[in-house]
């Protein structure tokens, strides 16, 4: 077991524990913070996979953006004095079975498939290459997704806008 493996297991455990708490915790705030843990673990795994830019992006976007957003969502939709802030679980047995089924299936696929893998190409910084790819080969998806992001942000702002009685004819 080398350092790489150790790092993997640690990071994998971090992500999976975070995910498990997110899923199982009945308190939303706990779930949100453990989700942070899971995201950070995944970011670490990205780093292990020589995807340095991706790892940074994961941290910045997910941890910095999405998670904060989710936390806002939690806080805004529950009153402060609502001490429970609990999320009720339904049909846990069925869900567990389904999740287990999916996990078993995917894991068996992962282990039983003869992956056509190449070995140990040296890791090198990817940022510049990714930038180049976005600007050249993937320029259209890049622009497209940025547009989507823009539209989604405007849309979200519009939907989420608080309507005061004076601001229109709304109900």
């Amino acid at each position: 077991m080398n350092a790489y493996d150790l790092a993997f297991y640690l990071l994998a455990a971090m992500a999976l524990v975070g995910a498990a708490i997110t899923v199982l915790s009945r308190r939303l705030v706990y779930a949100a913070f453990s989700l942070l843990l899971a995201f950070l673990g995944v970011a670490g795994l990205y780093a292990l996979l020589a995807a340095d830019f991706l790892a940074i992006a994961q941290v910045v976007v997910y941890v910095g953006g999405i998670l904060v957003l989710l936390l806002f969502g939690v806080m805004l939709t529950h009153r402060i004095y609502d001490t429970t802030l609990k999320s009720v679980r339904v049909q846990p047995l069925l869900g567990g079975l389904v999740a287990a089924g999916i996990a078993i299936l995917l894991i068996s696929v992962a282990w039983n498939t003869p992956w056509n893998t190449t070995h140990e190409i040296a890791a090198e910084p990817t940022t510049a290459k990714i930038g180049e790819a976005f600007m050249k080969h993937y320029v259209f998806p890049f622009e497209f997704v940025s547009l989507i992001l823009l539209v989604a942000l405007i849309g979200a702002a519009l939907i989420g806008r608080s309507r005061t009685p004076g601001s229109g004819n709304g109900r």
Binding site: V90, Q91, V98, G101
Partner: protein, 698 residues
């Protein structure tokens, strides 16, 4: 003196326009628009007089009548039925009729302004009168059978409307209900008209023509060939129309009831003009009548003359007496034509129009006065008794002092109708009786009954007319003091027509020689009988035969009139002129006459009741049997369908239902899955995915 179509178009149009204006605007016009109607008819009278004098003095129609055709009336087709045209024909007969109609109308319209004053449908009354004048003129002026028939039915309509004018009154005289009297008149006339129409159709089917001249021509040229019997039948069918319109037995029943109309109407329509239309029609179609048909006509006329006179003997209602008198006089005209005294019949039409109109108007004047008196005295008429009945002669007596003009003019008319020398009636009646005398006693002794009936009727006429005069005007009035105060002469617009009509009852208008021995007057040369179109006509009575019979007939008829007057005078002297003692004696003859020979009862029990009964039975038949069959068929089919429905429901449908039930139950089970919760769907999708992968992976 040439006349143009403009004259006749004007004559026809004026009353029509007056009618239309009256109907729509009458109420809004000053005086209810009576001046409009009277003005129209006055102009008509002037135009008619011009036509008449042109014919009389300048012989404008000698040989060639005025004919005008309206082409393209039915259509523009060149041949066949649709090429038939209508039009106007004017000859001496027409000219005379025009004058009679318009002059009577003018005077009676004038009289109506007094008689109908204050009635709430005053303007409508004049509208109807104007409609009548138009229809009557159309009848007279038409040049073909269809136009004659149209005018014929239209006068029937105006008669209907005017008889029913007082429709809201439950009863206007004993037993007379306006609402049913007008219906009776129309339907009775319709029966006659149907015969008339069939006669027209017979003529048309043989000749293919409708214009008088064309029809005569075709018949003369043998359109009927050997079917002379059919020609006779056609004549009798045509005469059916005259029987109804001129109230000849057995279709006379409507005329006495027609007295339900206001008295001027009775005078104009049911005495002077319309009822004479039948006579006019017989005269107009004279060439078509075969000897057999004419004999039939003569018998009907003679019988009616006597029949009407006998009933008139015992009537107490003044208008009823005059109504039966009219029936009787019309009988005179008809049998005059029947026996070949063509000009005499038409002459009597004219003189009768004036003196009968006068009698009716005088009666109207009397009734008017009586009404006013009763009203003033606060006496009400109870329809169930004769007490306070303004039309009952037994309540009158001695009106001559209060109503001198009415009395004097009535006396003139009574003399005229009885055939007393120096009156118009003497001249015309004498001519008819002379013709009948020659026909029945000289030429055809087997038909002796015709003159016998005629002379008998003359006796009775003199009697009942004298009775009318005595009961109404002579003696002393027995009305209550208060009523007597109110009894007075009618206003000028009612008396002037009386006087004018009385003047027209003089002899001098018709013949300067009151005896007709030395001069025959203009009538016999003006109204010469047309040449017969019938193949073998009855040998026309030679003029001298008529003339030979003339003096004898005159003597007989004079003694007849004298006998009648004498009898009336005798009874009057004994105070028995009201015939009350006869009634009280319970004589069967009296009751037979007073009940008008029970003809009405006979019709009501047989024809009317029969028709109503048949219609009830057929109505029941239709509802129960014909419709019943339909409904039974329907019910049978409903049963069939129910049977098949049963099989369907429990046989065929059972299977289907079982299947459907299975599907439904399964569906109910499966339905549980559809929760609408998205998470369940995720589960299903995932499970499905797993199963799919596992299965394909294996």
């Amino acid at each position: 003196m040439e006349t143009t179509i403009t004259t006749y178009a004007l004559i026809l149009a004026l009353p029509l326009v007056a009618f239309v204006v009256q109907v729509f605007f009458g109420k809004r016009l000053p005086r209810g628009g009576d001046w409009l109607v009277i003005g129209a008819i006055c102009i008509d009278l002037l135009l008619s007089l011009r036509v008449f004098f042109g014919a009389l003095f300048f012989s404008s129609f000698a040989g060639t009548p005025f004919v005008w055709n309206l082409r393209g009336w039915l259509g523009d087709a060149g041949t066949g039925v649709l090429a038939l045209s209508t039009g106007i024909l004017v000859d001496n007969v027409t000219a005379m009729m025009l004058v009679v109609v318009t002059s009577c109308s003018t005077l009676i319209f004038l009289f109506s302004t007094g008689y109908m004053a204050g009635h709430r449908r005053y303007s409508l009354f004049f509208a109807y009168l104007s409609l009548f004048a138009f229809s009557m003129l159309l009848l007279v002026l038409g040049n073909n059978l269809i136009a004659l028939f149209m005018g014929w039915e239209l006068v029937g309509l105006s008669s209907y409307l005017l008889i029913g004018f007082l429709f809201e009154e439950p009863v206007v005289a004993p037993d007379i209900v306006p609402a049913s009297a007008c219906k009776k008149a129309f339907i009775t006339n319709r029966i006659g008209d149907t015969g008339f129409l069939l006669g027209i159709l017979t003529l048309f089917s043989f000749t293919g023509k409708i214009a008088y001249g064309d029809v005569f021509e075709a018949v003369r040229n043998g359109a009927f060939g050997d079917h002379t019997t059919l020609l006779t039948v056609a004549g009798i069918l045509l005469f059916c129309g005259a029987m109804a319109k001129s109230a000849q037995f057995p279709l006379h029943v409507w005329l006495p009831d027609a007295m339900a109309g206001p008295t001027p109407v009775s005078a104009l329509i049911h005495a002077a003009t319309m009822v004479a239309a039948g006579v006019y029609m017989v005269a107009r179609l004279y060439p078509l009548f075969t000897p057999d048909a004419l004999t039939f006509i003569a018998y009907v006329g003679a019988f009616t003359a006597l029949f009407g006179a006998t009933i008139a003997l015992v009537m107490n209602d003044i208008k009823r007496v005059l109504a039966y008198s009219t029936i009787s006089q019309l009988g005179y005209m008809v049998f005059g034509l029947g026996v070949g005294a063509y000009s005499a019949g038409l002459f009597h039409l004219m003189t009768h129009a004036f003196f009968k109109a006068l009698l009716f108007l005088a009666a109207g004047s009397v009734i008017h006065a009586m009404h006013r008196a009763y009203h003033y005295a606060g006496l009400e008429w109870n329809p169930r008794s004769r007490e306070n009945d303004a039309q009952d002669m037994r309540n009158m007596d001695g009106l001559r002092k209060a109503m001198p003009v009415t009395f004097a003019t009535t006396a003139v008319a009574v003399l005229a109708i009885s055939g007393v020398p120096f009156t118009s009636g003497f001249l015309s009646k004498d001519m008819i009786l002379g013709g009948a005398f020659a026909f029945g006693f000289v030429e055809n002794p087997q038909h002796f009954l015709i003159p016998v009936f005629g002379f008998a009727a003359a006796v009775l006429t003199a009697f009942y007319m004298a009775r009318l005069l005595i009961m109404t005007f002579l003696g002393t009035n027995r009305m209550a003091e208060r009523g007597q105060e109110a009894l007075r002469e009618s206003p000028w617009n009612m008396t002037v027509p009386l006087v004018l009509l009385a003047v027209l009852c003089g002899w001098f208008w018709y013949n300067p020689d009151p005896t007709t021995i030395f001069a025959k007057g203009w009538v016999s040369s003006f109204l010469t009988p047309p040449a017969s179109a019938v193949p073998q006509t009855l040998v026309a009575a030679p003029a001298d035969a008529h003339h030979a019979a003339h003096v004898a007939a005159m003597l007989v008829s004079l003694s007849c009139a004298g006998a009648g007057f004498f009898a009336a005078w005798m009874l009057g002297r004994r105070g028995a002129i009201s015939l009350e003692h006869w009634r009280l004696s319970g004589s069967r003859v009296y009751y037979l006459l007073a009940n008008k020979y029970y003809v009405d009862e006979l019709y009501n029990r047989t024809v009317v009741a029969g028709m109503v009964q048949v219609s009830r039975i057929l109505g029941w038949f239709d509802k129960v049997l014909v419709d019943g069959v339909v409904n039974a068929t329907g019910r049978f089919q409903t049963g069939l369908s129910e049977l098949s429905g049963f099989v369907d429901r429990y046989g065929v449908d059972g299977l289907v239902n079982a299947l459907a039930g299975f599907v439904r139950d399964t569906g109910n089970e499966v339905r549980q899955i559809q929760t609408g919760r998205i998470q369940n769907y995720v589960v299903y999708a995932t499970v499905g995915l797993i199963v799919l992968i596992v299965v394909t992976g294996m």
